[in-house]
Symmetry: C2
Subunit: 315 residues, 2 copies
């Protein structure tokens, strides 16, 4: 099922992050030459297999570094973000500088350097409105409820206009809630990682509202495969949902994490946050048609692998 | 018909521009105290009547200046923009810094200073998609075709989220193509101003395609009245169209300008620009309901007044 990407040279912005590490491994396994630009040094030794890896430590705000990194690459994947829903809401202008402008500038530099395909990791959980259908198709109304989603959506629009006016093809993947090996819960992101952490450390876990909120959780290996397919995409879509296509309530996830880990999680209920959408499940039929992609990992398998990683990490 | 705004103190970002000067005059005539922040010094001597005018010369990128300017004001109107469709398309990242971030930062400062209403001059001609209905209601798909429209739309979204999360009410007015006294054609903006200029200077005028493109032209006095009503708006809408609600083809406008000026315009036809929307006419029923506003100036009256201004300016 993995793509054959021999002959491709692919630049990954933020290749050292949670999704990035899986994407790098997937692209290397597909035979691509991979160049990473990331603030952190490489520590992927045991995950690399075939292909060539070139790792540049540096800031994606460094425009001359970006321009030289983009040389000789034919595709780029933008995964870099120090942005989170919580920090973005606290300071919109800072979010615009650190996330929105940085991503758009990176795309402009890639276009100028002759890169042909630019893949942007957007957010299926934040760009749509509160009244969306279930599951949500890509043509639904886009009406973000937080500043993080506004910046993701604005980047999508800039990339679409860039594709219309200049040379580079751009594609935004609206990724649902990714989970899997290597994800650490931080500041409200990564519900499954948080549940894993609490299962292993025994501390009580705070959940939103009554736990009935439904989200679309997609295994990170499947996300990496979708990105590997997008790298060589030649179709006309500019935004494609990447998710499981089915929803799980937070309470349901907690029980499944308990089953996968064999440990109990103590819950503490907190009042509803005002901006939560009750149900967010993505319609993934466009990904099937356009990228010949569908999620290959069941929630049981995904949680089992994730629990095994946490068991090892907690020792 | 003019609002009574006695007791209000209103901050105008960009009060020295084409729309800004008319807004300042309208608000002063309504009895408001007006504070302008603009790069240019005041030269409105003959247009001010009642009310108090306080004019600050400075950059809206100067955040401490903004914070002190916003003190003691209860509403703000954001008209400042050195952005144009042509320059925005050439450098997206520069557009993000100079226009998008500046507007959002100004709104955050206004909110922090206790301003209650923030009115943003958005663009009815660029935020919608190419397949919009005629006339276009506000709930239509937003799919800008140039970077200028992307930044306008992104500002709208940030303001809507700001209103949901913080204290300040925000309202985006999606203004059609404004025209009238004081508008000078520049870099592709202001078709009526360009036609007036060519009528008076006798030079041949280049028009897009075959001149059949239809736009919604709204008289600047009517725009100023809409903004004066928006300043005290207490309803729940976050974006409202402001236009004539009817369309005119560019060739039709040329004939009407010839009639209003008594002069002929020589036309030069150029090939279609690829990103033009054939018809863009706004549905203005929300403005009628929410702001009790409708355009009061016929195209004949508006062009007659505009022609009189040009006749005087060309002497």
């Amino acid at each position: 099922m993995t793509q054959d990407l021999r002959g491709h040279r692919i630049l990954i912005f933020g290749g050292g992050g949670f999704i990035g590490r899986h994407v790098v491994a997937k692209l290397l396994a597909s035979g691509a030459a991979v160049r990473v630009i990331d603030l952190m040094a490489q520590d992927l030794a045991d995950e690399t297999s075939a292909g060539t890896l070139d790792w540049i430590v540096g800031s994606i705000s460094d425009e001359s570094l970006l321009a030289s990194a983009a040389q000789m690459c034919d595709a780029a994947v933008f995964l870099a973000s120090n942005s989170l829903p919580s920090s973005a809401n606290a300071d919109f202008a800072a979010e615009i500088t650190s996330h929105l402008r940085t991503a758009v500038k990176a795309a402009e530099i890639c276009d100028a350097q002759g890169i042909q395909n630019f893949i942007f990791a957007s957010s299926g959980g934040t760009v749509y409105g509160i009244d969306s259908a279930t599951p949500i198709p890509e043509h639904s109304e886009t009406r973000p409820r937080n500043a993080y989603g506004v910046s993701k959506l604005a980047i999508e629009h800039y990339l679409r206009v860039l594709m219309a006016l200049r040379r580079m093809r751009t594609l935004s993947l609206r990724i649902a809630n990714p989970y899997g090996r290597g994800q650490v819960a931080s500041r409200g992101q990564g519900f499954i990682a948080a549940a894993m952490e609490h299962a292993f450390n025994g501390q009580p876990m705070t959940i939103w509202g009554d736990g009935s909120v439904v989200r679309d959780f997609v295994y990170v290996d499947d996300v990496a495969e979708a990105i590997a397919r997008a790298v060589a995409y030649g179709g006309g879509h500019d935004a494609i949902n990447i998710g499981a296509g089915v929803g799980l309530s937070l309470l349901d996830v907690v029980s499944r994490v308990e089953a996968a880990t064999g440990r109990q999680i103590r819950l503490e209920i907190e009042a509803d946050r005002p901006i939560d959408v009750a149900v967010n499940v993505l319609d993934i039929s466009a990904a099937q048609i356009e990228l010949d992609w569908r999620p290959a990992t069941s929630i049981e398998d995904g949680l089992r692998e994730t629990a095994a990683w946490w068991a090892k990490a907690s020792r």
